[in-house]
């Protein structure tokens, strides 16, 4: 894949950062507004997929290689598991216990603020990392398939 015309390239080089930032916003505000880890992760992956469509697969892979996505995928899953397992060791001793959570009281200042829901934002960040990395990895691998098979056909013909 070679990428698209100069118009698409220059516009997407502007837009990609905004999409990425929007993905981060959706991920870390997941406990207050609609969205969360999965939706945010999909948007994060979309910014890289846009890069891939506009500049070609090689350029996107220079920025985020296949090995790195696979590692980020695993790191995301392990972070999520770590947040869940921390419940065993802190506080009330239970799997998935929200050990950072404080009892909410009326008029308390932190309610409905960014840092307010205990471990939920942490889990959202981990899920966002995992979903973003794995979705980009899927698209990358499927496009590798396509390049391989077209290369194979050219050899045959």
């Amino acid at each position: 894949m070679k990428g698209m015309t100069i118009i698409v390239k220059s516009i997407s080089s502007w837009v990609k950062m905004l999409i990425f930032l929007f993905g981060i916003y959706i991920t870390i505000f997941g406990h207050l507004t609609p969205g969360g880890g999965f939706a945010g992760g999909v948007i994060l992956a979309c910014s890289f997929i846009l890069l891939m469509l506009a500049f070609g697969r090689e350029y996107a892979e220079e920025n985020l290689s296949l090995g790195l996505t696979s590692k980020l995928d695993c790191v995301g899953a392990l972070l999520f598991a770590a947040v869940a397992l921390c419940g065993f060791f802190f506080g009330a001793a239970g799997f998935f216990v929200n050990f950072l959570h404080q009892e909410w009281q009326a008029g308390q200042a932190t309610a409905l603020k960014l840092v307010s829901a205990g471990t939920i934002p942490l889990s959202n960040i981990a899920i966002g990392l995992k979903v973003g990395a794995s979705l980009f990895m899927i698209v990358l691998i499927l496009s590798v398939f396509r390049c391989d098979s077209s290369a194979g056909k050219q050899e045959v013909s």
Binding site: K71, C74, L78
Partner: protein, 505 residues
């Protein structure tokens, strides 16, 4: 010793996601780590025998949060999953060396184990569906792991039918939620007991029977099983035949039918007829096969029929108001056959893998005389064959004996006759395996064959010892009271499950 229930899901899951971080180079370290994980699961499963309890994930009280339930039935199936998983993982340490992406294989294997443990422990219907999909998707990928022609075809077939089954189950879960207002099995069961079976719930029950029946490969729904189980790598065939079809199919359907909806006469007949059909048709289909793994796959259908038939017969007797003693004997036979079959069928698939890796073929007519060159494989395969055919001192005999006694005692003499007849069929098909594979003349091209020693033979010997000793589980009263009786009680007591779960701390 109390072991927190999430360990059964968390240990394989965390290990599965840790292994790819090691990279494809450090194969030895990854293998050791995966074996340690399955070993930990085995120890935990043995330590939880006799334990029962409800675990509230995240300390959310029951109707709000997800709960994990450990009772007799879960304990029995977890034990089977852990034993077979441990042996198959030990076997794959040697067997999978010829594949390039071994760490990926190991992490998919552990994901499948995590999914199965989750299905067995879950006390919440949607959570059950999620774990079922985790186990299924991992198994689809594992069946097609070799990426050759047959494997891809089998994997696609399995995946299409498996996805259709999953959609049936999800639709059924949606109907249960709409009709009862709860996804928790205990609360849904209480609500069903109050309202009775409405039309929507009957429809949901039909969807569940079709969906879980497809996952369990009972005879009208069996089309995918022989292809998938014969194309997969041998340790995966052992896992699929040994435990996957039991946890995703038989365990789930008995849990839903007995503990959530409550058994009725019609349902008992449905299970009984499905079981008998699978027994007879699976047996006849198996005898004609020339491929050793296909023969074993068809015989899995036949043996699974025994399990479903025993459980269905017990349910039928309970629903008709017959004597509880015969009902619990039939259910005991079914459940004991379930755990027996897990051990000897996985052993048979492991021996077929050992034969395949030594000779490079699965066609029985191209083999012969391998008994001389593969002594350990031959010995373990003979033990497993004797066990599955029901030769007296081995484990299969005891479970079939109990089923015959229960069927005759409850007045279903024809059923006892069918059970004995299918046992003879099984004996014939495994005599055929012995005759064509291990006896006779060694062909010229196989004269240089050697047995691979090490972890592979170790796994087979462990399972063979279990095959011989399994009868003790029934004959020693203490073991029976610890392992089998609580599982039978869960099914016999039926929908009082809900009141027990709700009252548990």
């Amino acid at each position: 010793m109390i072991i927190p229930l999430p360990v059964f899901v968390a240990v394989p899951l965390v290990t599965a996601f840790f292994l790819p971080l090691l990279g494809d180079k450090r194969r030895f370290g990854a293998t050791i780590l995966a074996n340690i994980a399955t070993g930990v699961l085995l120890v935990a499963a043995i330590a939880t025998i006799g334990q029962s309890g409800v675990y509230q994930v995240g300390k959310w009280p029951i109707p709000l949060g997800i709960n994990l339930v450990m009772d007799g039935l879960s304990g029995l199936v977890i034990l089977a999953v852990s034993v077979v998983g441990f042996a198959a993982m030990l076997f794959s340490a040697g067997y999978m060396e010829r594949y390039t992406a071994k760490p990926k294989y190991l992490s998919l294997f552990l994901l499948m184990v995590a999914g199965m443990n989750g299905v067995v422990l879950s006390g919440d219907m949607f959570n059950l569906f999620v774990f079922l999909e985790v186990a299924s998707i991992a198994s689809y990928a594992l069946v097609g792991f070799g990426c050759e022609h047959e494997e891809l075809e089998a994997s696609f077939k399995y995946m299409v039918l498996g996805s259709v089954a999953s959609m049936f189950i999800l639709f059924g879960i949606g109907l249960v939620y709409g009709n009862t207002g709860s996804l928790n099995m205990a609360y849904a069961s209480r609500s069903i007991a109050e309202t009775g079976l409405t039309r929507g719930l009957v429809f949901a029950l039909g969807l569940f029977v079709a969906g879980f029946g497809l996952k369990a490969a009972l005879i009208p729904f069996h089309a995918w099983l022989p292809d998938a189980h014969s194309s997969a790598p041998a340790p995966i065939s052992a896992m699929l035949s040994g435990v996957l079809i039991k946890t995703l199919g038989v365990y789930a359907i008995t849990r839903v039918v007995f503990n959530v909806f409550g058994i009725s006469i019609q349902l008992g007949w449905v299970l009984l007829v499905l079981g008998v059909l699978s027994m007879v048709a699976g047996g006849f289909l198996a005898i004609g096969q020339a491929d050793i793994k296909r023969l074993m796959a068809y015989s899995s259908i036949s043996q699974l029929g025994y399990v479903v038939m025993g459980i269905g017969l017990g349910g039928l007797i309970i629903a008709q108001g017959g004597s509880t003693a015969w009902a619990s004997l039939a259910i005991l036979g079914g459940l004991f056959h379930l755990i027996n079959h897990a051990v000897y069928k996985s052993l048979l698939f492991l021996t077929s893998g050992s034969v395949e890796i030594s000779t490079g073929t699965r066609q029985m007519d191209r083999m012969g005389g391998l008994g001389k060159v593969l002594p350990i494989t031959r010995a373990t395969c003979t033990i497993a064959s004797a066990s599955i055919a029901g030769v007296p001192p081995f484990s299969g005999f005891w479970s079939k004996l109990i089923l015959v006694i229960a069927a005759v005692g409850a007045g279903y003499i024809w059923l006892g006759a069918i059970i004995v007849f299918v046992a003879v069929l099984t004996l014939i098909m495994y005599l055929k395996v012995q005759r064509y594979v291990f006896l006779g003349e060694l062909p010229e091209n196989l004269s240089g064959v050697e047995e691979r020693r090490g972890s592979m033979t170790c796994a087979m010997v462990v399972l063979a010892y279990l095959c011989v000793l399994m009868g003790l589980l029934l004959l020693v009263p203490d073991l029976k009271a610890a392992v089998l009786d609580p599982a039978v009680d869960v099914l016999v007591n039926g929908i009082s499950y809900s009141s027990r779960i709700i009252s548990m701390p």
